[in-house]
């Protein structure tokens, strides 16, 4: 009998020791010193972590160049009164004027923050929103959730929303192709990469061209199936990436001349993410090979003036072996340091790697889950 009491007491003690529930406390950002301070016109860099779908773990990190400090998860602390923080799946990030915009895909909204303090100013509700670009006082956001035609072959087109950046209201929408992803603006026209990702295996293959003045879709330009990326360079060339169909058709990169309306060149390069810096297009890519059953990766630089691939691997010290899934790339506007993120297994914390312009690893730091999007904060760098 006494033994039983003892055992009971020990069991209860174990439970008590194991701990009780505590109040959930606002996440205090974690600060890590990772590099020597740098002083130039670029003062900081925001990194948007996507967070796996359903996890509500979209988070914002900030790297301060003038202190060399990396701060994880700044949004929750700066906005303690926002329920359920930033939301589910951060899909794009941009700075325009004094504001920072974060497109949160599965939370169906764009968070608008003060670019210095990250304090939330407002929110623009757009279902299934994807990417954002700015022009002439307006923000343009693509969305998969256009009008629906329920027929035998259910069809659901996407749209581009035009948002007044002073009132934060959607002032107009323009229906485009199926499941539009990235967009860019050249010479008074918005080019939208339509993916058709929901239409498997009948992917979309066109760019939609919207006239900014009338905000009407003018034409569709066939490029390749399942388009994703879309960047305009200073030569009027649009760099468009295709995801392929993941089987016979590989991911590819296309250069389209918007002035002469012709395809200039197709590059047999895998593209997950690209970043344009001057005449250099940095491209990273991952493609799963059913032969080796492994992901094969690309770290390339393409000269947008000569249309030549000038580097096959911009990481020169062999440290790319530390990267599991290269997910996003960015380049410092002044120092030309290269930032590459690692998505890892999508459910554990990702990493950010910084390489010098020569491709040597400078530092790396743990981020939130799936670091995927960048925005540089500084003078004369966000003016379009």
């Amino acid at each position: 009998m006494r033994t039983i009491h003892k055992i009971c007491a020990v069991l209860l003690a174990m439970l008590v020791l194991a701990g009780c529930r505590e109040e959930d406390v606002i996440f205090v950002p974690e600060v890590v010193e990772i590099a020597q301070p740098e002083f130039n016109d670029v003062q900081g860099m925001y990194v948007l972590n996507e967070g796996n779908m359903g996890s509500n773990k979209a988070t914002l990190d900030y790297y301060n160049f003038s202190t060399g400090r990396y701060t994880r998860n700044v949004f929750g602390f700066a906005n303690p009164s926002v329920p359920k923080e930033m939301g589910d799946v951060g899909n794009d990030l941009g700075i325009y004027g004094s504001k920072l915009y974060a497109v949160i895909n599965c939370s169906n909204k764009v968070d608008v923050m003060d670019k210095m303090t990250v304090k939330k100013i407002g929110q623009i509700d757009i279902p299934n929103c994807r990417y954002i670009k700015f022009y002439g006082g307006y923000a343009y956001v693509t969305s998969y959730a256009g009008p629906v035609e329920i027929r035998e072959d259910y069809e659901q087109r996407g749209f581009v929303a035009k948002i007044d950046t002073t009132t934060l209201q959607v002032v107009d929408t323009c229906v485009v192709g199926f499941q539009p992803d990235e967009l860019d603006i050249v010479n008074g026209k918005i080019y939208v990469a339509n993916s058709g990702g929901y239409m498997v295996p009948n992917y979309e293959n066109t760019l939609s061209v919207i006239d900014i003045a009338t905000f009407k879709e003018e034409e569709r330009i066939p490029i390749a199936i399942n388009l994703q990326g879309c960047r305009a360079d200073s030569h009027g060339t649009l760099w468009v990436s295709s995801r392929g169909d993941y089987y016979e058709n590989s991911s590819m990169l296309y250069a389209y001349d918007t002035r002469h309306h012709r395809l200039l060149k197709a590059f047999d390069t895998r593209v997950s993410s690209m970043w344009l810096d001057g005449d250099s297009l940095y491209v990273i890519g991952v493609q799963f090979s059913y032969v080796t059953m492994k992901n094969e990766v690309t770290y390339a630089i393409i000269n947008t003036a000569t249309l030549e691939q000038v580097a096959d691997n911009f990481i020169t010290d062999g440290t790319e072996r530390d990267i599991t899934i290269p997910y996003a790339v960015a380049v410092h506007p002044i120092t030309k340091d290269i930032y590459v993120t690692d998505g890892k297994d999508y459910v554990s914390p990702g990493w950010l790697f910084c390489y010098s312009a020569e491709g040597k690893l400078k530092w790396s730091v743990r981020t939130g889950d799936i670091p995927g999007h960048f925005a540089f904060l500084g003078k004369n760098i966000n003016d379009f």
């Binding site: 009998m1 039983i4 055992i7 069991l11 174990m14 439970l15 194991a18 009780c20 529930r21 109040e23 959930d24 406390v25 606002i26 996440f27 974690e30 359903g54 996890s55 509500n56 994880r72 998860n73 303690p80 009164s81 926002v82 329920p83 359920k84 923080e85 930033m86 939301g87 589910d88 599965c106 939370s107 169906n108 909204k109 929110q123 509700d125 279902p127 998969y144 959730a145 629906v148 659901q156 929901y198 498997v200 295996p201 994703q228 995801r243 993941y246 991911s251 991952v286 493609q287 799963f288 059953m293 992901n295 899934i325 998505g343 890892k344 297994d345 999508y346 554990s348 914390p349 939130g368």
Partner: protein, 684 residues
């Protein structure tokens, strides 16, 4: 009266394996769940007790647990974790000793429930209305006379439905039950039992469940100084369920044998309440399930030394998943599964204490679906188990070797036409050894140990799901070592009527674990791979005791405690800051346990139960951002039995989650707070 109390204690105890039960002591029992045991033991002259007895919940004890589904009840076993997405219709799957829910076999009236599509048995779907006993075995049921399939899981749960029993002079029983309460629950059920003869009886059972599934949940966060930062209360939406269950069975006994046949039908429509994330407080996805199976078993002692057990089953399952939310990808997927199964088990007694068994099973599975370019896989499985059991004085041992042959046939398609036909074969042998020893004849103390190596086949989804499946997957292995002891003691006199203590330490390794890894570009692209490795070290403790107090008061209580270190050894390179290497795997708490207390006085029963799940992380990267709080709930119930004219009635009131704790079992899936249930049962 004392006699009756003793019996009550035994009934409530319910942890003693049925065959080991002394038929004499139950002989004069009143109409309760134990009476059936008499029937079981009547024909078997030498029931071979299991080497390692199961954890069992049955009868009164099961009734007292305020559980709606089998999953709710299983939480009271040690070493078990439930993944619960909340609500009446929410998915609930069971994971034993952290090996993953796919390693778990669930048996319904002796025959395994299959799901070749995804390997998951949603135990939330099985209501307790018609369940009489739930037993849980680590490793396998350590009895050799069973179908080969029973040797084929790393852990097993046996659900036994209520079998008809009749009071003297009665040939019909009618039971009507109505349950209602929170979540807009309306849950009537009816059961009719009929005795055709002394040897053949019938049971028919129907249950309907409707619930709006709505409940309030609350999320809030504080500043570190205790000031509220944000505090939101909302109503859980799209958790409604409509479910109909029909079940019929015929039971027969013969000289030296028995047989039964049953048919089961379940039809449900339910909403799928998704994750609660910022700006999204409701979802629109829905799911339809239709499950049908018919099965039969025949057991006969042919000669003094040879006994035969034959069983067969046909099952057809339909599932439809629909996403009508037009802001998202439109999905309307339908799946149909068929299973045919037949088994023969042969037991031969070589010597008085030495039995051998040869069991051979055949199983056929087919999956059909509306997915584009689907593989339409067929799987033929042949299982053969050779097992032997030997008893030498107080030492009991059992060894088995399972042979598995799997043949998958599937197609590769493009544009709807067949491009290639595939035919894959696999042969494996897996062993298991169980030993128990009683050092002193006068004490019922047993030291027990087992070793088992088993694998689970990749499911049809793992292998062939369009785009994500990986046809080159290998089986996922689980290897288990267990060492433990159990002590039990019964008293006919005195205050303490019964006590049972058990402790087990175990070490499991899961290798070639099938996990989804990212592939190619974009977040939504995954591939199943055999890359995971998990090592699990754990301790399970369980204690139960029953007290006879003065004034006809019976008091009994149980405690379970589980400690588990389940570490992720998948990627040794991922050992930096925030890495997953050696991290505790997702949703496995280090500490968990339960406490139950039951008091009975005359026609009044009171139950209290407590569940505790300690802190966890939602991924194997054990950092602050991935931390999940402990949760614990207190449930209370009271029931009173009375007679109205010739009707035997029982009314029960339940309060669950008494202190209204707001918690998530799975991140962003809020669980219900305090809720109530009222049950009225009438027996005619």
């Amino acid at each position: 009266m004392k006699r009756r109390l003793t019996l009550w204690g035994l009934v409530c105890w319910c942890v003693v394996c049925c065959v080991a039960q002394d038929a004499e002591s139950v002989g004069s029992s009143r109409l309760d769940s134990m009476q059936y045991l008499k029937n079981v033991t009547v024909y078997g002259t030498k029931p071979y007790a299991e080497v390692i007895p199961a954890q069992v919940l049955s009868g009164k004890q099961l009734e007292g647990l305020n559980s709606h589904s089998v999953a709710d009840a299983i939480r009271y076993f040690s070493g078990v974790q439930i993944k619960d997405y909340g609500g009446v219709g929410g998915i609930k799957t069971v994971d034993m000793r952290s090996m993953g829910s796919n390693h778990m076999g669930v048996f319904y009236d002796g025959i395994q429930l299959g799901n070749a599509q995804n390997g998951q048995i949603d135990l939330g779907k099985f209501s307790l209305d018609n369940i009489e006993e739930i037993s849980l075995y680590n490793g396998q049921k350590s009895e050799i006379f069973q179908p080969a399939r029973d040797f084929g899981s790393a852990g097993s749960i046996y659900l036994r439905t209520r079998r008809p029993k009749f009071a003297p002079g009665k040939s019909d029983n009618l039971n009507v039950t109505m349950r209602t309460g929170s979540f807009g629950l309306a849950n009537p059920s009816v059961r009719w039992e009929h005795k055709f003869s002394r040897k053949v009886s019938l049971s028919l059972n129907a249950e309907y469940t409707y619930a709006t599934g709505q409940y309030h949940f609350r999320y809030r966060k504080m500043f570190s100084d205790g000031v509220v930062a944000w505090d939101t209360t909302a109503v859980r939406k799209n958790g409604d369920i409509y479910a109909l269950r029909l079940e019929g069975s015929v039971h027969g006994v013969m000289p030296d044998g028995r047989w039964n046949a049953k048919a089961y039908y379940y039809d449900s429509e339910k909403g799928i309440p998704g994750a609660i994330v910022n700006n999204v407080w409701k979802t629109a996805q829905r799911q339809w399930d239709r499950n049908f199976f018919a099965q039969g078993m025949y057991q006969q002692k042919i000669t003094e030394k040879y006994e035969l057990l034959a069983s067969a089953k046909y099952a057809r399952d339909y599932m439809r998943y629909w996403n009508p939310d037009t802001t998202l990808m439109y999905i309307n997927n339908k799946f149909w599964q068929d299973e045919l199964y037949a088994s023969v088990a042969n037991k031969y007694t070589l010597a008085r204490d030495w039995d051998v068994d040869l069991s051979v099973d055949y199983k056929w599975n087919y999956l059909n679906s509306t997915l584009v370019n689907f593989a339409y896989p067929t799987r033929h499985t042949v299982l053969a188990a050779l097992a032997t059991a030997y008893t030498w004085q107080r030492l009991k041992g059992q060894a088995s070797l399972l042979y598995t042959h799997v043949n998958d046939r599937y197609t590769s398609r493009s544009g709807g036409t067949v491009v290639e036909r595939h035919n894959k074969r696999l042969d494996r042998f897996t062993p298991a050894v169980f030993v128990s020893y009683q050092p002193w004849a006068q004490y019922d103390l047993n030291i027990r140990a087992f070793y088992k190596r088993i694998f689970r086949m990749p499911t049809f989804n793992d292998l062939y799901y369009t785009d994500m499946g990986n046809a080159s997957l290998r089986p996922e292995y689980a290897t288990q070592w267990n060492l433990g002891l159990m002590y039990q003691h019964y008293n006919d006199m005195g205050l303490l009527s019964a006590v049972r203590l058990s402790a087990d330490a175990y070490y499991n390794i899961v290798t070639d674990k099938i996990i989804a890894v990212p592939k190619g570009t974009g977040q939504y692209r995954w591939m199943m791979m055999n890359i995971g490795k998990v090592k699990i070290r754990g301790i399970d403790l369980a204690a139960r005791m029953a007290l006879r107090l003065p004034g006809n008061v019976l008091l009994e209580g149980g405690l379970t405690y589980t400690y588990q270190r389940a570490q992720d050894y998948t990627n040794p390179a991922d050992n930096k800051d925030g890495g997953t290497y050696k991290g505790q795997i997702a949703y496995v708490p280090w500490h968990s346990g339960s406490a139950t207390l039951h008091g009975a006085w005359r026609d009044l029963d009171l139950n209290y139960s407590f569940i505790y799940v300690g802190e966890r992380y939602h991924t194997s990267a054990n950092i602050r951002a991935n931390h999940e709080q402990p949760w614990y709930t207190h449930d209370l119930s009271a029931s009173y039995s009375f007679r109205v004219m010739k009707l035997q009635c029982k009314v029960t009131g339940e309060v669950n989650n008494l202190f209204n704790q707001q918690y998530d079992v799975i991140q962003n899936y809020p669980m219900p707070g305090r809720n109530y249930k009222l049950i009225l049962k009438v027996d005619i």
